[in-house]
Symmetry: C2
Subunit: 329 residues, 2 copies
């Protein structure tokens, strides 16, 4: 067996993680039992926690820098869905026996890059050994003024339903990463894979929606499943038109190629776009907001009284979907 | 293979975890992308995160209720070491393929019991599948007035060094749980095992020490290792007398039996007692505090200028310790 440099727990923290905490005085340079978070006066903290497991949420062997950035981004996306300003995060790493310093160094470099991009800092965590695959746990912290956060509850019959960006790229990207979708051009394959590997948390959009939207969620389980969550928490039904769902050119070409169906796109997860409801009076404000952010905000349907999600096909008839989205068990 | 009831991700949350969130309005009944934490006016949040892995931090097959309580308690112990009042926690579960509803139900029941004992509530989390052993991740939240928390830095030459309770029971208890220490009486075996399986977070002590102690840490890696952490962060040295280290009767009998040495006791981890430094002027206040809490607070040495930890044996000579404490790698 080749001997690779492999530091002890405390050396790993000192070499690779302590530098990530320097912008957060309450992190005590990771030399404490915990961190101190002092929200701005009058603000509340928003807290979210997402885990990622090698072989489940990402392919074994993924570039550790990409992995680190994805882990941070999926958590920041939850903050975005609540309209919070991202502030900091705590990190839990359960590492398998075959990790080495180079892996941790690249992982930390990925975090450093996205910390700068999103204005957050590491405030603490835990690094342990596991006999199984890598398990990554991240708890992200944001702030909102007062208690003014977006939630999944609050959608009302008559509201418009919007989604940001394009839908389905990530689930197609995952198939591409796994070696599927043989007919894809190299360009489309790269574009879709990038959407899976490095989602874009819609933080600016979320913060702007606090005063506009009646409810919001990020699309992680799948468009239909997450719309179902919104409906369940809001006590309403939703009807969306499949033709209105915004698709990227790459996704459109993949659909046209016949290797996937629209049902795969609207039930596939990991896009991390924001799905939200607004009163029709907000349409102009949303147009303006979309232009300001350089981000498509597409009206895909409406909230109705009742329960459940109906997806209407091009022929005006409800689509039969085999499943609504991702569940872990 | 016997078919056992095994719910989906969302059913697990609704059945077993949502009830644990009812005391926390900001948890949104776990039906949101994240939770809202509003600290009392003028307070700061203290945040800590500890992971536990099956087969590493606890034996495979451990009673899930005990496991849940231990996970919560080791995190609350970190809050205690910072002098915080415990408030809430977020939970991450990576579950192996062979989990079933009964396991999750028992795990949740353990949490429910200790939530009540310690006055905390579940505010969110994530439940995922893993191909490997169970990985548990918990992030605990407490509050302190202003920014008045205890840290590891602040110990000064001349300070006394104290530890609460007794030292070494947990490391002996772990050996007992693993089938070692053959000469133990059933009573001692049970008492020591209980100290490993269900540590007692010293929250009341920690909160009382905020105005008294110059620095504090909880004993998780081992008495000598954790004293080393205090010294490193405070920029001082420490000298403790091995005869002064408080031992339980069970630990004393185990030592007398010759199956372990005192070096094993002072370098063994998992006691979750508080180790802290105070100026000599605080001795009377600590006597009073110990009586009030019904908890032994034992002076075991003194802070000195310099670096490193010296453990002095009964003969007045420094002990040679093979190691100082636990490291994961």
């Amino acid at each position: 067996m080749t001997s690779r440099p492999k530091s002890g727990e405390f050396d790993l923290i000192a070499r690779f993680f302590e530098p990530l905490s320097r912008a957060a005085p309450g992190a005590f340079a990771l030399g404490n039992d915990g961190a101190l978070l002092t929200p701005p006066e009058g603000a509340s903290l928003v807290v979210t926690k997402d885990l990622m497991v090698a072989g489940v949420h990402y392919p074994e062997g993924e570039d550790p820098a990409i992995l680190a950035r994805r882990l941070l981004r999926v958590n920041l996306s939850d903050l975005a869905a609540m309209g919070a300003v991202a502030r900091s995060y705590a990190l839990g790493l359960a590492l398998p026996a075959d990790f080495d310093d180079a892996w941790v160094e690249a992982f930390a470099a990925g975090l450093a890059r996205d910390q700068e991009a999103f204005g957050v800092a590491l405030i603490g965590g835990d690094t342990v050994a596991t006999a199984g695959p890598t398990v990554l746990s991240l708890t992200a912290f944001g702030t909102v003024a007062g208690d003014a956060c977006l939630t999944r509850a609050g959608g009302r019959a008559g509201d418009d339903i919007y989604v940001s960006g394009t839908v389905g790229d990530a689930t197609l990207g995952l198939r591409a990463v796994q070696g599927g979708l043989a007919a894809l051009s190299p360009e489309d394959r790269g574009a879709l894979a990038a959407r899976f590997r490095l989602p874009e948390p819609r933080l600016a959009l979320g913060a702007a929606l606090v005063d506009i939207a009646s409810c919001a969620i990020d699309v992680s389980d799948g468009l239909v499943a997450d719309l179902g969550h919104l409906c369940a928490e809001s006590g309403v039904a939703a009807r969306i038109g499949v033709d209105a769902v915004p698709l990227s050119d790459a996704a459109r070409r993949t659909l046209d190629g016949g290797e996937v169906e629209i049902a795969d796109v609207v039930t596939g997860g990991d896009d991390y776009e924001l799905l939200f409801c607004t009163p029709p009076s907000a349409r102009e404000a949303l147009d303006t907001l979309g232009h300001r952010l350089g981000l498509a905000l597409t009206r895909i349907g409406a909230v109705e009284p009742g329960r459940g999600v109906t997806v209407v096909g091009a022929d005006g008839q409800p689509l039969a979907l085999g499943r609504t989205g991702y569940q872990h068990f």
